[in-house]
Assembly symmetry: C2
Homo-oligomer: 145 residues x 2
């Protein structure tokens, strides 16, 4: 049974994961979408402020999304998100890192006859540290429109 | 010569692009990072509120990033971004769409001895419509730390 707007309460927290990223995947994503030297070139990355190859922040966000889809969005009656607030990258993700995600429902409000908006704070964790966070603004279908 | 913090002024606007996305690329990205039915399954997408296959919002953001890297970030002395505010998806990107990006510098401030923070509003355009927008918080190296 899908997760509807009415099934979600402010304050709920959950933890999902995991996703382990390889050096090859970091380079492949960045060659296509973010070919800055510290994402695609190990030597240039070593001499950059990052001190080594790091994942694009967009790649970190995308991997976090995969964890959330596997964790609950694939069972949710959503029609996607309106957007994201306060996306922050605190520490870069590096080859071999394993990501997990912690979610907290911070607000819910009716959006239309058919949908409700749920604000979900998401933290991406690697080795117990928060490397990325954001607040997703997700539309969930209402069970009884 | 790279673009330094001192080279950037509030109010500057530019337009960059383009990036054309195929159906195969939409599905490939989504299978890896956002395998919700409306991103990976044409039949399910046709029956969804989107009425057809649409790109993951994270894919739209990543393609926008590629346009920005090709347009100016590859020449910029940056050390990445602190994050993004007010990321919004207004209309989905569909197979065959061509994206371009419009940037406007909305704020600059010194961040440390070595870096300055530049807030850049980015709009992603398809056929003259804004499909996505965000404010990137980018660290540029100072020419004279």
């Amino acid at each position: 049974m899908p997760i509807y707007f009415e099934d979600i309460s402010v304050g709920e927290t959950e933890t999902f994961g995991s996703y382990t990223v390889s050096r090859d995947e970091i380079v492949e994503f960045a060659r296509q979408y973010d070919p800055q030297p510290f994402h695609v070139d190990g030597e240039a990355a070593a001499e950059s402020p990052f001190g080594g190859l790091v994942a694009s922040g967009w790649h970190t966000a995308a991997m976090t999304m995969r964890v959330l889809v596997d964790g609950f969005l694939e069972r949710a009656a959503t029609r996607g998100a309106l957007g994201v607030d306060e996306l922050r990258w605190y520490d870069p993700v590096r080859p071999g890192d394993t990501l997990s995600a912690r979610t907290e429902v911070v607000a819910t409000e009716p959006w239309s006859d058919a949908y409700g908006k749920v604000d979900v704070r998401v933290e991406t964790h690697v080795d117990g540290e928060v490397v990325c966070s954001m607040v997703g603004l997700i539309l969930f279908a209402r069970r009884e429109p």
